[in-house]
């Protein structure tokens, strides 16, 4: 049996916009540009011009930083063991602080999404470290972790455990731990917002179908938190790659160069070694790495969201 299909309607020719509409559109666009212009000028002057300036600086070297060296600074960076070391530990720092931070953020969000007494208070308390200046956090933890006079070892000794030299035996892990502690509240708030955006009917339907709490978590909660997870991971990786203040304050990049993260290395090259051209090249490389990682994360995230 065949079905007669109705002939397709001939394509309609695009109708010319009335002249009054084009004029209105141009007027609106002009108004929009006038409003945008101050922001554009501000952005170009204080953002793109310095970036361009930095690119020029990266191509210069010598004692006074004015000798044109082309790509030499970039070539040097790829062969500099200190730079390779700092980049490697920065990747470890980013991976550790972001992945563990996301896990703890989700866990806290799930707990504080329950109807528990005092949950508003707990949410507020967890957010305090994020709202505190990194300088204060650094000094606070430096004192807490001091092996001789720090409160943490005092507590351990009180319960009969030996004191630890946290900043000497596992300095990078300690810095990762402090980072997670300080950002857990913020991550929790983001995931909490994500959780509250998941319609309750999904859980009800799953429960009717016999899904237990774990199944509901892994099949509903986690997939529907994917956009938030993507956001947190991209922001977290960018922040981690740029991390400077915490190791600078807590360990000064030491012991040795164990916590000399990439941004700290750039700082040392610029302000200690007085090699501004080389430091500019290192900054440009960091920019490229951040852009590449962010694009990859966004693409992967988009694909995952599409599947969801």
């Amino acid at each position: 049996m065949t079905t007669a299909l109705a002939p397709a309607a001939p394509p309609t020719a695009p109708q010319a916009r009335p002249r009054w509409e084009s004029r209105a559109r141009r007027r609106e666009a002009g108004t929009a540009w006038r409003f945008l212009l101050p922001a554009v000028i501000f952005f170009v002057a204080l953002f793109f011009v310095p970036i361009l300036n930095q690119l020029v600086a990266a191509a210069n070297g010598g004692v006074d930083g004015t000798t044109f060296v082309g790509l030499d600074n970039f070539v040097t960076a790829f062969n500099d063991p200190e730079v390779i070391h700092s980049f490697t530990i920065t990747l470890i720092y980013a991976a550790g602080s972001v992945t563990i931070g996301i896990g703890i953020g989700i866990l806290l969000a799930v707990i504080l999404n329950q109807a528990l007494p005092g949950r508003t208070l707990f949410r507020s308390l967890l957010l305090i470290p994020y709202l505190t200046s990194v300088a204060i956090i650094g000094l606070l933890w430096r004192n807490i972790l001091d092996p001789q006079i720090g409160i943490l070892n005092r507590l351990l000794e009180t319960v009969g455990l030996p004191g630890q030299t946290w900043l000497s035996t596992a300095p990078l892990a300690t810095i990762i731990g402090i980072t997670i502690w300080s950002s857990a509240g913020y991550t929790m708030v983001l995931f909490l917002a994500g959780l509250q955006g998941i319609p309750g009917m999904y859980y009800e339907a799953a429960q009717i179908d016999g899904a237990g709490p774990w199944r509901r978590f892994f099949s509903i909660t986690l997939p529907l938190l994917a956009p938030t997870t993507l956001f947190v991971s991209v922001i977290g990786v960018i922040g981690a790659l740029q991390q400077f203040a915490l190791p600078y304050i807590v360990t000064g990049g030491g012991p040795g160069n164990a916590t000399s993260l990439y941004a700290h290395r750039v700082f040392i090259v610029a302000f200690n070694d007085n090699q501004f051209g080389y430091a500019s090249a290192l900054s440009v490389l960091l920019l490229i790495v951040i852009l590449i990682l962010s694009i990859i994360q966004l693409k992967v995230g988009d694909r995952a969201n599409d599947h969801t």
């Binding site: 509409e21 209105a24 953002f47 310095p50 970036i51 300036n53 930095q54 020029v56 600086a57 004692v63 006074d64 430096r142 972790l145 001091d146 092996p147 001789q148 006079i149 030299t165 900043l167 000497s168 300095p171 956009p227 993507l230 956001f231 991209v234 922001i235 960018i238 790659l241 740029q242 600078y248 304050i249 807590v250 360990t251 000064g252 030491g254 012991p255 040795g256 160069n257 164990a258 916590t259 750039v266 700082f267 040392i268 610029a270 302000f271 200690n272 070694d273 007085n274 501004f276 500019s280 290192l282 900054s283 440009v284 960091l286 920019l287 951040i290 852009l291 962010s294 966004l298 969201n305």
Partner: protein, 429 residues
């Protein structure tokens, strides 16, 4: 009708991420050079960069009076040393400089002076007979600031690292009536005083505190002309191995904590958790004020193969683009005048570079200052070529890495020093 593009949730997140990525890009622009402008502040503002630990009332009074005399608004900015250095380097790059700067240590001014960032003060000194420079200044403090006949800073404080601070009560309890004078005696004393929660000594994470130890083995930090570092090598190994053993073999010192703060040993000593520590006169004030109940003793530097101390102490330098170098020089004259030095010594126990200060009866009769004077006479010679090479900071940073690896991470001494020498030579070349 024109319909503006609507932001949905996903595009909003994208926008947020985009802004964040661009923010990250912007954060990397800190190293870009900027166009030199003018000197810091208005014509009537006089800007001073100072170490936060040196804000003595004696200096405050002089600076206040100087501002009143010249109808100047004084912008006295205080920093920790690393922050002062960072700010100053950025200022030199921008051309927006202060009028007077405290120099972290001898040689720093030379490094900046050769690069054209601070002036040689010889002509100013020649025209100021009242200053008595360099005749009234201890030679070692002056020559350490000179290169090829030019002087790039004025000695302000002259101190020696390597004084032995000891708790007389704890030493007496362990059966020591007098402080140790040699490494062997020092080790014996630290073993005897290490008990319960008290350690015999406390080493510093700051690498400059290792200088007395290697100088006491006759080691020179650098010989730039020959391209050598920490030589004789065997003696350098012996010195650093001794320090490492104090922590890990003899367990008479806690492992230092890697921080930017050098006051850890002093705090342990003040808390009666360490019987001794090695430092300089700058820790006299904090110990006396922080723990007046401690019966403090200060002994001359120890003797390894030789008895030696390491030079320390700040200077004063004038940036090339300072608004009025004559005015800056006038303030230097007032700050380094004998009466100001005496007032600062009385207030904080700081030792000074003027020969007339050392000869003053109030100084000569003070038991602690006598010990400081002994330490000053034992200062090991510095290599003037290192700051002149422009690589002193870079090489010091490399040594910091090696030193912390040795005393904090317990890396093999020979390997760490060999690595340091290789990297330092590469930095020089």
């Amino acid at each position: 009708m024109f319909t503006p593009h609507q932001l949905n949730r996903r595009s909003f997140l994208r926008l947020g991420l985009g802004v964040s990525v661009l923010g990250a890009v912007g954060a990397g622009t800190a190293c870009a050079p900027v166009t030199p402008q003018s000197s810091k502040g208005g014509a009537n503002t006089f800007t001073i960069y100072w170490n936060a630990g040196h804000t003595y009332k004696a200096y405050e009074a002089v600076i206040d009076q100087f501002g009143k005399d010249h109808d100047l608004q004084i912008n006295w900015q205080k920093f920790q040393w690393p922050d002062l250095t960072t700010k100053l380097v950025a200022d030199f790059k921008s051309g927006n400089v202060p009028d007077l700067v405290e120099e972290v240590t001898a040689g720093t001014g030379t490094q900046y002076g050769i690069a054209g960032d601070v002036i040689a003060i010889d002509d100013l000194a020649k025209g100021d007979t009242g200053m008595k420079f360099p005749d009234d200044f201890i030679d070692a403090a002056v020559t350490a600031r000179q290169y090829e006949g030019k002087t790039y800073s004025i000695p302000f404080h002259l101190t020696a690292n390597g004084l032995l601070f000891y708790n007389k009560g704890l030493l007496a309890d362990a059966g020591f009536a007098t402080p140790p004078t040699t490494w062997e005696e020092f080790l014996e004393m630290t073993k005897a005083t290490t008990k319960d929660k008290v350690t015999g000594t406390a080493l510093n994470s700051d690498p400059s505190y290792s200088a007395p130890f290697y100088h006491q083995q006759g080691v020179a930090f650098s010989d730039v002309t020959k391209g050598e570092f920490l030589t004789p090598e065997a003696s350098a190994t012996k010195a650093l191995q001794f320090m490492q053993d104090l922590i890990y073999a003899h367990r008479v010192s806690p492992a230092p904590v890697a921080t930017t703060d050098y006051s850890g040993p002093q705090k342990l000593f003040s808390a009666k958790r360490a019987a001794t520590f090695l430092s300089g006169p700058w820790d006299l004030g904090p110990v006396r004020q922080g723990s007046p109940d401690i019966d403090l003793g200060v002994a001359p530097p120890l003797k390894g193969s030789v008895q030696a101390s390491a030079m320390a102490g700040a200077g004063l330098m004038i940036p090339t683009k300072a608004k009025n170098p004559d005015l800056s020089w006038e303030l230097i004259g007032k700050l380094t005048a004998l009466e100001t030095e005496m007032a600062a010594t009385k207030e904080a126990g700081m030792s000074m570079p003027r020969k007339s200060w050392a000869a003053d009866p109030a100084v000569a009769s003070d038991e602690t200052l006598k010990v400081v004077a002994t330490a000053l006479s034992l200062i090991a010679k510095q290599d003037p070529e290192l700051p002149a090479s422009g690589k002193a900071n870079q090489i010091n940073e490399l040594y910091k890495k090696a030193y912390q690896q040795i005393v904090i991470q317990q890396h093999p001494v020979d390997a760490s020093l060999a690595d340091f020498r290789t990297q330092a030579k590469a930095a020089l070349s």
